[in-house]
């Protein structure tokens, strides 16, 4: 089965004509410190997702990929200080009160998290939990009707014998089934946008394949926007139209999926591809990325990737490039065009600091 969708190419850029984009993030910054002692986690990102388009957000631990998406549904810890703008269908969500947020969560945005065991309530049946999600937004609906609708949803996410399964508790279900229940809850109120945060990371590879197929089908059938957050370039490659690569709390490259993999324009993207083992290229040597990700509170100007970058130049010490157009992509590198033109097989010049990782 192929992942290609007819006309699914949501290219980076402004919304399609007619109406606001599903999601528009502008200059979003998240900080866990105090004004005197900042502890930045996300340092100014811009993202747009239009209807029916799919976006992958890729990065390693601590890159800020999950934090930036939690801000969309205001699920960040209370200690987070958030600035910038997050608009859902043209409406600002930062600063909304709890009542308004509850209206948005589920009805405009559905969230799918990594660990379906801790995201589901252990003491209610999964049918009750899907039903509750429906009734939260349609308080007038009877329990009986909500239950019937819940069973339909469970069937839609391909849970076998849904009527029977609706009476199960989360612990009675496997990880893959629990993740399906999470997806049923996420789509219960027909949100226009689904955000899946590492949806398959806790699952085995054959179950992962099932869940990814399911997500692709939902995008096709329901024409929803989908954001998949993942550390795995392989997962993203098969599912999304466009990829944003995060590093050090910023987006360092934002590109159509084919472009990102064929001509990565940021050295970090290139480095990530160079260290990921590929099933179809067993003999390619893997190049680890030397050093460790930056401590964001200790960054003082310059490019945040420079210490680990094999292409760094003296200018990189002083200039911290913003995301700028480079071909069909956008990249935050002073040398994006040159780097995009390099053949993929070129290994980066070694920037080795021994044993940092």
């Amino acid at each position: 089965m192929t992942g290609g969708r007819p006309g699914g190419g949501g290219v980076a850029g402004p919304a399609a004509a007619g109406g606001a984009p599903l999601l528009a993030i502008r200059d979003l910054a998240i900080d866990f410190g105090t004004p005197e002692e900042p502890q930045p986690a996300v340092r100014g990102i811009d993202l747009t997702v239009t209807q029916g388009s799919t976006l992958g957000i890729v990065g390693e631990s601590g890159s800020g990929k999950s934090m930036s998406m939690l801000s969309v549904v205001s699920l960040l810890p209370d200690t987070a200080r958030v600035s910038g703008s997050v608009q859902l269908a043209g409406r600002e969500v930062l600063g909304l009160g709890p009542r308004e947020l509850r209206k948005i969560r589920g009805s405009q945005v559905g969230m799918i998290f990594q660990d379906p065991m801790t995201s589901l309530n252990p003491v209610f049946t999964v049918g009750d939990q899907v039903g509750e999600a429906i009734r939260t937004h349609e308080p007038g609906m009877s329990r009986r009707k909500a239950r019937a609708r819940a069973i339909e949803l469970l069937a839609d996410v391909t849970i076998p014998r849904p009527a029977e399964r609706a009476r199960s508790y989360p612990f009675e279900l496997s990880g893959g089934m629990r993740q399906r229940v999470m997806i049923a809850i996420a789509i219960a109120n027909n949100p226009a946008l689904l955000i899946a945060d590492e949806p398959t990371t806790a699952l085995d590879v054959t179950i992962q394949a099932q869940i990814l197929e399911l997500l692709k089908r939902l995008v096709d059938e329901r024409n929803v926007g989908l954001i998949v957050i993942s550390h795995d370039l392989g997962v993203v490659a098969g599912v999304v139209d466009r990829v944003a690569v995060m590093y050090g709390g910023r987006i360092v490259e934002d590109a159509p999926v084919d472009e990102l993999f064929a001509a990565p324009r940021h050295p970090y993207t290139r480095a990530l591809l160079g260290c990921t083992p590929r099933l179809d290229r067993p003999n390619a040597s893997l190049t680890p990325i030397p050093g460790t990700p930056p401590v964001l509170s200790a960054l003082h100007g310059g490019c945040s990737f420079r210490a680990r970058c094999g292409y760094r130049q003296p200018r990189c010490e002083d200039e911290d490039p913003a995301l700028q157009p480079a071909g069909r992509s956008q990249a935050a590198c002073l040398f994006a065009d040159e780097i995009g033109a390099l053949p993929l097989s070129t290994a980066a010049p070694a920037a080795t600091e021994e044993a940092a990782s």
């Binding site: 631990s61 893959g176 085995d204 054959t206 084919d258 067993p282 680890p288 990782s357």
Partner: protein
């Protein structure tokens, strides 16, 4: 990390050579305690159900499979970190399973293990030098002599010996995994059991550890039993692979051959499900998406254990367990239709 031009097609087990390690009919059953529910006789989890393989000197054999297939339990049974229910494990012809603790300890210097989680597998309140020296002290070396070895071992895994006095929490995940490797190497083992050694690490760090393992293997000629769920990683490192499903090996053979031409439907499905970081390749792939899930290991299916999810399953699969034999694939496959 440099990877010298080793012939990747190398090392199907050298014909005449004696295996370093032989595992025969290894079985591990864990008793199940039912809390609350009705007592249903003596249920057991069939974690490992008759696994046999040989490991030869200097080769990398990978046990690959999904959670619950018994790959880690197999590794632990070999070292007797978990006592096997039955079966036979011999190292250089010496039976490991019926050794008394003292004798076992003497043999264990030849078989060491690196664990998945570099956070829980190092004692948080011991200094790195003591962690690395401990196996040597357990084996009877004096403290002084053991500690004298530490700088060399740290250099072997590319850690700065000046940091020997630090505690594990002062190191990154990748560095901690290097500490675990240094500890395992301290006794110059002939066999290293690597239990998902890179699964807890980010890819950029994972590549460094894989490179180190590759490098060590070539330099020191240690045999690896490399346990992993990640086919891309296995493909990169292994000379031979044994694919496990629900407590059994379903296919075993040279990595090159098995990955290029998998004989067992499960191996085929597993390979086709592994994502490849290339959108063009991904779109062009014929993906086998297996239905259903791994059945309970308490009541595994009769006959072939994979039959409940197999698109080739026929009557014979329920009645007759397919033996793991060469069926014309050039390597053993446990499928009636291979």
């Amino acid at each position: 990390m440099s990877s010298p031009a080793t012939s990747e097609a190398s090392a199907p087990p050298p014909g005449g050579a004696e295996p370093l390690l032989s595992v025969r009919d290894l079985v591990k059953e864990f008793p199940v305690r039912h809390s609350g529910g009705p007592i249903r006789g003596r249920d057991v989890v069939h974690a490992v159900s008759g696994v046999s393989f040989d490991l030869y000197a200097g080769e990398v054999l990978s046990l690959v499979g999904e959670s619950g297939c018994g790959k880690s339990t197999t590794g632990r049974c070999i070292l007797r970190l978990v006592e096997p229910t039955s079966g036979e494990v011999t190292f250089r012809g010496e039976d490991l399973l019926h050794k008394r603790p003292g004798e076992l300890r003497a043999l264990r210097r030849h078989l060491q293990i690196v664990f998945q989680d570099p956070y829980s597998s190092l004692h948080p309140r011991r200094r790195v030098r003591d962690i690395i020296a401990e196996p040597m002290i357990v084996q009877g070396m004096s403290n002084r002599a053991a500690l004298a070895e530490v700088p060399r071992l740290m250099e072997t895994v590319h850690l700065d010996p000046a940091r020997a006095g630090r505690y594990p929490h002062e190191f990154s995940g990748g560095q901690r995994q290097r500490i675990g490797i240094a500890r395992a190497l301290s006794l110059s083992p002939e066999i290293l059991v690597l239990d998902e050694p890179v699964s807890a690490l980010d890819v950029s760090v994972q590549a460094g550890i894989l490179g180190l393992l590759e490098d060590l293997q070539q330099r020191l000629q240690i045999a690896y039993l490399f346990i992993s769920h990640n086919l891309s990683v296995v493909r990169h490192l292994a000379d031979r692979v044994a694919v496990m499903y629900l407590g059994k090996i379903v296919e075993i053979g040279p990595a090159l051959e098995t990955f290029a031409d998998p004989g067992h439907p499960y191996t085929q499905a597993l390979l086709s499900a592994a994502p490849i970081p290339d959108p063009v390749v991904e779109r062009g792939r014929e993906r086998i998406v297996l239905g259903g899930e791994v059945p309970s290991a308490i009541e595994p299916p009769s006959g072939c254990r994979f039959r409940t999810r197999c698109w080739k399953a026929a009557e014979i699969c329920a009645t007759e367990e397919p033996a793991l034999i060469d069926r014309g694939n050039g390597h053993p496959v446990a499928c009636h239709f291979a």
